[in-house]
């Protein structure tokens, strides 16, 4: 009837025994395993954590190839490859190692700078970049857990930034209170913009992917209009589409002193991570969220109002993404912003959530990883002249590889995890989102 081109790799019934691991272990770590530990080793080697690490390795490898291929010195050395092959190898090594060294120095620790304070500054930059990524990633991840796909991060961030920004320069309030009000305004703004999507989905069945994409554009043009109109968001006495600066009372204080850019927004994001963890894993509402995400029909039969859950989830998701917008205007860009304030974070958040497998702490560390890529990418662009777009390529490749564990296993010839005696790696992205 048909050629057997599509073996049921991941979601098939567990009758498939996988490759014969015990007899010829081809994974790098599997060879030392005792028979009793076979299951454990398989779990580690083939499990989701290992897949994540290997996906990052694969993506970095692909990025390295891309960097080497487009390097001028490599091109020059490949012209006389047969005369002096060593030159080509050296050129490739120089370009790739130079790129990744500057990436590391821009993201974690710069050994070239004197003293610990100057050397560790890149790490704090990484955390600063990670702050909005984690917040928005939590929002997208929360929606994933309820079976919703929130691509509307851009719009929610823009609306949140507009609300928080407006509060931050329009009122004269004491320290503390002003900040809290500005944060609350932004989060509520994002929540309402996201909640609108939930409401439309619950009431009319409108697909949230389409509605969020469309609301991104609507928010963009709405904010652009307000930025151009005096009396709304435009700075008084200016013709540029830019807002006034936030008052100092509404700005996030520096977390580690004035020599670092890291601000209190990071603490808010840690709190948000704890809250989302509690919400999803310990609260009644979170249980209902997950039930709807696993199977809406079963949840409905069990007496859960699926439509209400959609609205609540999108409200919370929009609010968390809104926190990212707040972190931008009250933490990173406090001198007034334009319509590019979202800086693509709304879309990056999707990849962060996927990399973190929609779990709060997974998203937290995924956000830090992507923050490191961002901070390091800028350093790499400045010192090595490699466009920062390579970071986007690496990030998307990471997500692509993580989404398809069988592909990574096939590349590294890893065994399939059996899950004997251990919990099964249940978070496969395809299941999380549907």
């Amino acid at each position: 009837m048909s050629q057997p081109s599509v073996p049921p790799v991941e979601s098939g019934p567990p009758v498939e025994s996988g490759p014969p691991v015990a007899s010829s272990p081809e994974g790098p770590d599997a060879s030392v395993a005792e028979p009793r530990w076979h299951g454990v080793m398989r779990e580690i080697v083939g499990g989701s954590a290992m897949i994540s690490v290997l996906a990052v390795v694969l993506a970095m490898l692909a990025g390295g190839i891309l960097i080497a291929l487009t390097d001028d010195k490599v091109a020059a050395a490949s012209g006389y490859f047969f005369a002096r092959p060593g030159d080509l190898i050296k050129a490739v090594w120089d370009s790739v190692s130079g790129a990744y060294t500057s990436l590391f120095q821009g993201a974690v620790y710069n050994f070239k700078r004197p003293g610990f304070i100057a050397g560790i500054k890149p790490l704090t930059e990484t955390l600063t970049f990670a702050t909005p990524l984690i917040a928005a990633g939590l929002g997208v991840g929360l929606a994933f857990r309820v079976g919703l796909f929130n691509i509307g991060g851009r719009g929610q961030m823009l609306i949140a930034a507009a609300c928080a920004g407006w509060v931050s320069w329009s009122f004269e309030l004491p320290y503390g209170l002003h900040l809290i009000l500005a944060v609350a305004a932004g989060v509520i703004g994002g929540a309402l913009w996201g909640g609108l999507v939930g409401l439309l989905k619950a009431r009319t069945g409108a697909h949230e992917v389409i509605v969020t994409i469309m609301l991104n554009f609507v928010a963009l043009y709405l904010v652009s209009f307000m930025l151009k109109t005096p009396g709304l968001l435009q700075a008084p006495g200016s013709n540029n589409p830019k807002t006034p600066a936030a008052l100092p009372t509404a700005v996030f204080p520096d977390l580690l002193g004035s020599q670092f850019n890291l601000h209190w927004g990071f603490i808010f994001v840690i709190a948000a991570t704890v809250y989302v963890w509690y919400l999803l894993n310990r609260s009644n509402l979170g249980f209902q969220f997950r039930a709807v995400g696993e199977n809406p029909n079963a949840a409905r039969v069990a007496g859960i109002s699926v439509n209400k859950m959609y609205i609540y989830a999108m409200l919370l998701s929009g609010g968390l993404v809104g926190l990212a917008g707040v972190a931008q205007v009250l933490g990173t860009v406090t001198t007034g912003f334009s319509s590019g304030i979202d800086a693509g974070i709304g879309f990056d958040a999707i990849t962060v959530a996927l990399l973190g497998r929609s779990k709060p702490w997974g998203i937290f560390f995924a956000g830090i990883l992507f923050g490191a890529f961002k901070a390091g990418g800028f350093a790499m662009q400045a010192s090595e002249g490699i466009p920062i777009d390579i970071v986007v390529v690496i990030q998307s490749l990471i997500v692509l590889f993580i989404a398809a564990p069988p592909l990574v296993r096939a590349v590294f010839r890893l065994p399939k995890p059996t899950g004997v005696g251990l919990r099964r790696p249940r978070t496969q992205t395809a299941e999380v989102t549907k």
Partner: protein, 434 residues
């Protein structure tokens, strides 16, 4: 299934087999929508009516047949057209109250009248170049239509194609390089299709072979293609513009069709275009015919609606999906070539600027039908171009709100004001053969 059947029989234990009832669904949606637009018309064209003369220039200077410019007094025309709009709204309410359906022509006439009234109002004291407006609209629509056709084919076969944006961008990028290097437009077009197919291959491989969620793959592919083209553009193309991104060899010439191009209004709009636009006319017709009148189309739709049934009668679901998603990529890639070869003449970073997402909206707005999706894409193109024309003559409406319009219309459409849309039943669901 049997659980659902049981109560139905239970409800009529001793009655005769019920006669088939024709349920009359009274839908007040159309009269309500017409009523809202009529109120807008009364407010805008009468209460806030503008004085002056509105001109409509109907022919270009180079036309064989010259039509004089139409001039209409703005306020009087507005009043007359508003009265007609109110009459149509009342007629539709009358129809619904008598349980008769509101025919499509009523909606079409209403929309056209409203548009003419709006243009008359906006053009007070100015002259609108109608051919210029329409030529620009077609130009903006061409990539949208190609993208929408690709989307229709892909979704009809059961694979949600969010990667239209990536396919367009890949087509634009590759066609620019190939056309620039070889100087052969035909090779440029073919390579654009190949680039779209390549993106489709990844989409198909991940969604059909690895069962990764199709929306996720699509989103990630968009990011990947954006990053890849931006990286290569900065790293390779800008250093070698004359060879790799030379607008002199990339841009296609306009080919007026003798005779047809001299038809007033339609001639300059439809028949003085580049070869890509003529291919588009053929493509729309062929896709429509093939989808609904051929065996290929029947199989394709069967796979998208009910893959299990299709599999049962011997259609290879995976293979059908794979090749048709590739075909969709080829069509969308050709649309990408229009950005570089048809209009701009050289490649720029992220030059598609969200056109793929608009095409996706056109697919849904057009209810997965090639002709309707084409019309929806034309509507989006018209709305964007109307905005730029009105901003040139000095429109009273802020341009941001005009730009917002297509997205708001889509949200309304998707949310069911126009009608609840239902896509192919199996779109987005991987088919796992058991």
């Amino acid at each position: 299934m049997s659980i659902q059947d049981a109560p139905v029989q239970h409800n009529h234990p001793d009655s005769l087999p019920p006669a088939l009832e024709t349920t009359v669904v009274k839908s007040w949606k159309a009269p309500i929508a017409f009523g809202i637009f009529s109120i807008v018309a009364i407010l805008l064209f009468i209460a806030f009516g503008r004085e002056g003369i509105s001109g409509f220039r109907l022919s270009t200077d180079s036309d064989f047949v010259q039509i004089p410019t139409i001039e209409a007094p703005t306020r009087a025309t507005g009043v007359v057209l508003t009265v007609l709009l109110v009459a149509l709204a009342a007629y539709s309410a009358f129809l619904v109250s008598r349980n008769r359906p509101v025919r499509l022509w009523v909606t079409v006439v209403f929309a056209v009248l409203f548009l003419v009234a709006f243009l008359t109002w906006a053009a007070a004291g100015e002259t609108i170049p109608v051919p210029g407006l329409l030529v620009g609209a077609v130009g903006l629509s061409v990539p949208l239509v190609f993208g929408a056709l690709g989307g229709v084919i892909s979704e009809r076969v059961g694979v949600v194609n969010v990667a239209i944006e990536g396919q367009l961008l890949a087509g634009a990028f590759v066609s620019a390089i190939v056309a620039s290097v070889t100087g052969q437009p035909v090779l440029g077009l073919i390579s654009a299709m190949a680039a779209g197919v390549l993106v489709s291959f990844v989409l198909a491989a991940f969604s059909i072979k690895y069962f990764v969620d199709q929306v996720i793959v699509g989103v990630v592919l968009n990011v990947l293609v954006t990053g890849l083209t931006s990286f290569l553009y900065s790293q390779v193309l800008t250093k070698n513009t004359d060879l790799l991104n030379n607008s002199a060899t990339i841009r296609l010439p306009r080919l007026p069709i003798p005779g047809l191009s001299e038809i007033p209004i339609l001639g300059p709009v439809l028949f003085r275009q580049t070869i890509i636009v003529y291919i588009l006319y053929v493509a729309v017709a062929v896709v429509f015919f093939a989808l609904f009148k051929t065996r290929w189309g029947l199989r394709l739709r069967a796979v998208g609606e009910h893959p299990q049934a299709a599999d049962t009668v011997g259609i290879n679901v995976a293979r059908t999906r794979f090749w048709n998603v590739s075909l969709a990529g080829a069509i969308a890639g050709l649309g990408g070539a229009y950005f570089t070869m048809g209009s701009v003449g050289s490649f720029n970073k992220e030059m598609t600027a969200g056109a793929g997402f608009i095409a996706l909206a056109a697919v849904i707005f057009g209810r997965w039908d090639p002709i309707r999706a084409t019309l929806a894409a034309l509507l989006f193109g018209f709305a964007s171009n109307l905005q730029s024309v009105l901003s040139i003559i000095g429109s009273p409406v802020p341009s941001e709100f005009m730009l917002m319009l297509p997205y708001l219309v889509t949200i309304f459409a998707v949310a069911g004001v126009v009608g609840r849309v239902r896509g192919p039943a199996a779109a987005g669901k991987p088919y796992i053969k058991s």
